[in-house]
């Protein structure tokens, strides 16, 4: 399959990306762009390990083909959260509240939580659980992940 070139906003930086339109976006991100923070857990849209944001919408990148991207699309992966020196409140709270154990689900969880907080800065615990329902975690039992998101939201609202 001949490759195509797309111009995207990748983690805030404009980038020309060349890949086969048939390739899964997940593979393009991991193999072509070398951003291995985005994980594959199931390849079928069941686990959310491959979660990314496209134009602020939560997407399982294992289900999207590169050819489906439009020029100008804004893509956010875990590497685009925070910067080299500063972590986001979400990342900080996943560390302090025990929201990560083996870490395999963590990038996807962070992205899904980030998407939630863009839309809803003051979510209830139920709303957080609901927003993370597409992301599987086998280690934590979810409680500390929900704690982490709740705390981060508070900090971001300036309440703590």
């Amino acid at each position: 399959m001949t490759k195509v070139v797309k111009k995207v906003q990748l983690n805030g930086v404009e980038k020309m990306v060349e890949a086969s339109p048939e390739s899964r976006l997940l593979d393009v991100i991991r193999l072509e762009l070398n951003l291995t923070g985005t994980k594959e857990g199931c390849g079928e849209g069941e686990c959310g390990a491959c979660s990314i944001l496209i134009n602020d919408t939560l997407i399982n990148s294992c289900l999207v083909l590169f050819g489906q991207l439009n020029d100008g699309d804004k893509i956010l992966t875990v590497e685009g959260l925070g910067d080299a020196k500063h972590l986001t409140s979400l990342q900080e709270c996943f560390i302090t509240e025990g929201g990560t154990q083996c870490g395999m689900c963590t990038p996807g969880m962070l992205i899904a939580a980030h998407a939630l907080l863009i839309k809803n800065p003051k979510p209830t615990r139920e709303e957080i659980a609901e927003a993370l329902a597409g992301n599987l975690c086998r280690c934590t039992g979810y409680k500390k992940i929900i704690d982490s998101v709740e705390k981060a939201a508070k900090i971001m609202r300036g309440e703590s």
Binding site: G37, K39, V78, L87, Q101, A129, A133, R138
Partner: protein, 751 residues
């Protein structure tokens, strides 16, 4: 609060798991799985696959340079199937190609001629069927016994006799990271394998055997592990061995990363158990006799099946005094998916049966489940049915039970259970609990040994390597914490090195929740070695003392003269004296022993105790269960890092809920039916209940700083706690896991 030392890289996406690694000239391999549960292989034709563009090589059993069979206890697992396949996930051939996509495409071009055989579909069938392996006499992998007193006599003195059968399912570990590894051929003929495994030393043994290389020429380096739960031993070890064979053959780095479907098809599961309990209770409500039979499905490979049935055999009575006991446990070969270690090692199955059974017995004895348990619980100094005296640790079964039940307000809530009568909204309410005792570490089933290397640099930064591995449970953090405490320095000074088989001695598997205990003790020993080395230099710096110098807050102090020196200065002084601060610490487990014919002995050197209670509602129309609240009380000796201990408890509870309610790997004629999360239902965030964890600390003389272990007991109690709560909600007793909403709906409707 102690932070996980590896949390930063995990929240930034920087942590490197095996599939994230890339090497120059790397190529990719994919497995061709069997099409049958049991069949003879008549012929394999790889020519078309070999001719496919981008394919580098195709290998079959004929290409295995070393021994074709590997295994920890019994070498019965085939690196590649040669003349026969024994389950649907056996690997017949491997394709290595320029990309994983090409490799997988080429798989369909391999032609295998099979002659299907009649598969063995259950351990009951296996008992009378032709052996799965022609070098075995029959299909019994192992048979363990307990003979204590005389059960026949015991029953005579009884008011009532209760007998029940229980059954549990195949469970998939569901670590979020599917198997992955990369093998690299080195110019000197050795091979290096990077991969996500729980026990790099098993991988090294298998890889050495299959490649025909000596152990010293096989180097295994553990990458960050995306979950383990006992599931990353044999399967990943064989996959690594295959990658090594390929890498040596094509002389390029070879990566094998499984898809979820491949992983679930091939990887071993938790053993399904068929369990029978029979007990006699006297007129006071005390157990007088107990008969227990466990029958486990081992699949076609032994793996650690003997250990998995041994632990429930030892713990067959649960934490109860029973004067006359007979137990027989057997693991039997079948052609279902293989089974092996999974969080709990046989006890989620046993505790589900045992603790459901105890509630049934309580009712029969006309008592509430708490009163009945208290009457029968182990007490301090008890001699158990395996004739071990519990006098070296604190028997805290009553303490954990009281704490858990008080927190959840069991007394009040037990009275308001629906017992089959729904409220006006069609909901049924129930509360239930389960208790357990559990031997720590490997016990008499294995050689408990571990080592730790501490290496202090001239600038006083410290390298630490331990013979047990990080499985995502936070072991690194605990080891660093212990060493920091022993040397009185801050955690940040210590750099933990992931296990590399070429530098540290084999520490035995990080299974049986033994990591903290054995690793921690080895670290304490190494620190002792360092302090001893430093003594002569300290004498010059801060004066002599007959007592131990005090290592605290980055300083070393003479307790007599009160003179002190900073840790850094002391280290530098040692260095200037050409003293290399380097120590190997070791730990060997205290004496344990087991007499197999009678089933008695000091099975484990210490024990932990736990109680988990849950409340739930059942929708009487749909059968759907909503677990609202769980309280868990665990005796841990001492918690090195309470936040991580609590995290382990929550994870164990939710995993236990999956076992109780939704998870099952089904087989149809030996063919696995559930190979991804669309039908294999593990709990999601919306299923997680409100949870409270209570850590009960009774420091144990055998543990580092008194710590014991935690990972597994958290996962063994939910099955029975939920089944008991469902019983008090619906009035129906379920004796098979998972208890699905369909089962409940059917049972309620037919009542």
């Amino acid at each position: 609060m102690v932070k996980r030392i590896d949390a930063y890289e995990k929240v930034t996406g920087k942590a490197i798991y095996a599939d994230d690694l890339k090497f120059d000239r790397m190529c990719y391999a994919a497995p061709l799985h069997s099409e049958y549960a049991s069949a003879k292989i008549l012929d394999i034709d790889t020519s078309r696959a070999l001719a496919f563009k981008g394919v580098i090589e195709v290998i079959t059993a004929d290409d295995v340079p070393g021994s074709i069979r590997v295994g920890g206890l019994v070498p019965d697992q085939y690196v590649l199937s040669d003349r026969e396949v024994r389950f649907y996930g056996d690997v017949v051939a491997l394709v290595v190609a320029e990309s994983a996509e090409i490799a997988r495409k080429a798989l369909s071009l391999i032609k295998v001629d099979y002659k299907p055989l009649k598969p063995i579909l259950s351990p009951q069938d296996g008992l009378n069927a032709k052996p799965v392996h022609d070098f075995q006499k029959n299909n019994v992998v192992e048979h363990f016994k307990v003979r204590h007193g005389d059960t026949k006599k015991g029953y005579k003195a009884c008011e009532s006799i209760v007998e029940e059968d229980f059954e549990t399912q195949f469970i998939e570990h569901s670590y979020m990271e599917p198997e992955s590894c990369i093998a690299i051929p080195n110019p000197d003929g050795s091979v290096t394998v990077h991969g996500g495994m729980q026990h790099p030393f098993t991988t090294r043994r298998y890889t050495a055997k299959a490649t025909g290389l000596p152990l010293a020429k096989v180097q295994i380096i553990q990458t960050t592990l995306g979950g383990g739960f006992g599931g990353r031993d044999d399967t990943i070890a064989v996959i690594c061995a295959r990658a090594a064979i390929l890498a040596l053959k094509v002389n390029r780095p070879v990566k094998i990363t499984y898809t979820r479907d491949e992983s679930m098809r091939e990887s071993y599961k938790r053993h399904p158990f068929f369990t029978k309990y029979k007990a006699g209770i006297d007129k006071n409500g005390k157990f007088k006799a107990m008969d227990v039979d466990f029958l486990a499905d081992a699949g076609p490979y032994c793996a650690v099946s003997p250990f998995v049935i041994w632990r429930p055999t030892v713990q067959c009575t649960g934490p109860y005094i029973v004067p006359n006991v007979r137990c027989d446990s057997r693991a039997v070969y079948t052609n279902n998916t293989p089974t092996g270690a999974m969080r709990g090692f046989g006890t989620p199955q046993q505790v589900f049966a045992n603790e459901s059974f105890v509630d049934i017995c309580a009712e029969k004895a006309g008592m509430d489940p708490l009163k009945f348990r208290k009457l029968n619980f182990f007490r301090q100094g008890v001699t158990t049915h395996t004739e071990q005296k519990f006098d070296k640790h604190k028997v805290s079964i009553e303490e954990v039970t009281d704490k858990a039940l008080k927190e959840i307000d069991w007394k009040k809530k037990f009275k308001i259970c629906s017992r089959g009568k729904p409220d006006k909204y069609d909901y049924l309410f129930g509360i239930g609990f389960a208790t357990s005792y559990r031997g720590v570490s490997l016990g008499a089933e294995g050689n408990d040994f571990c080592s730790a290397l501490v290496n202090i640099q001239p600038d006083a930064s410290i390298l630490l390597e331990v013979g047990v591995s990080e499985n995502g449970q936070g072991l690194k953090t605990a080891m660093v914490r212990i060493l920091a405490g022993e040397l009185g320095v801050e955690d940040e000074r210590i750099h933990f090195i992931d296990t590399d088989t070429s530098s540290i001695p084999d520490g035995g598997p990080t299974v049986a929740s033994r990591g903290t205990l054995v690793g921690g003790n080895a670290v304490v020993d190494a620190a002792k070695g360092i302090r001893k080395m430093m003594r002569p230099v300290l004498k010059e710096l801060i004066g002599a003392s007959k007592k131990q110098y005090l290592y605290k807050s980055g300083k070393i102090k003479n307790p007599d003269t009160k003179k002190s020196v900073s840790f850094e200065k002391a280290v530098l002084a040692c260095h200037n004296k050409k003293m290399y601060l380097h120590a190997l610490g070791t730990f060997s487990g205290p004496d344990v022993g087991w007499d197999e014919t009678r089933g008695r002995g000091n099975a484990y050197f210490t024990y932990v105790y736990a109680c988990q209670a849950c409340e739930l509602t059942v929708n009487a129309k749909t059968g759907k269960v909503k677990v609202g609240k769980v309280v868990a009380a665990h005796e841990v000796g001492k918690s090195i890092n309470p936040q991580m201990s609590v995290g382990q408890i929550f994870g164990g509870i939710v995993m236990g809920l999956g076992f109780a309610l939704t998870e099952q790997v089904r087989h149809k004629d030996g063919i696995i039916q559930d190979v991804n999360f669309n039908t294999y239902k593990i709990p999601r965030s919306i299923d997680a209940p409100e949870m409270t964890a209570i850590l009960v600390e009774n420091p144990d003389p055998a543990g580092p700083w008194g710590a014991k272990s935690l990972g597994e007991p958290t996962n063994e109690l939910m099955g029975a706690a939920v089944a008991n709560a469902i019983y008090y909600a619906t009035g129906v007793r379920f004796k098979k896991t998972p208890i699905t909403s369909d089962d409940i709906k059917k049972a309620i409707c037919s009542k």
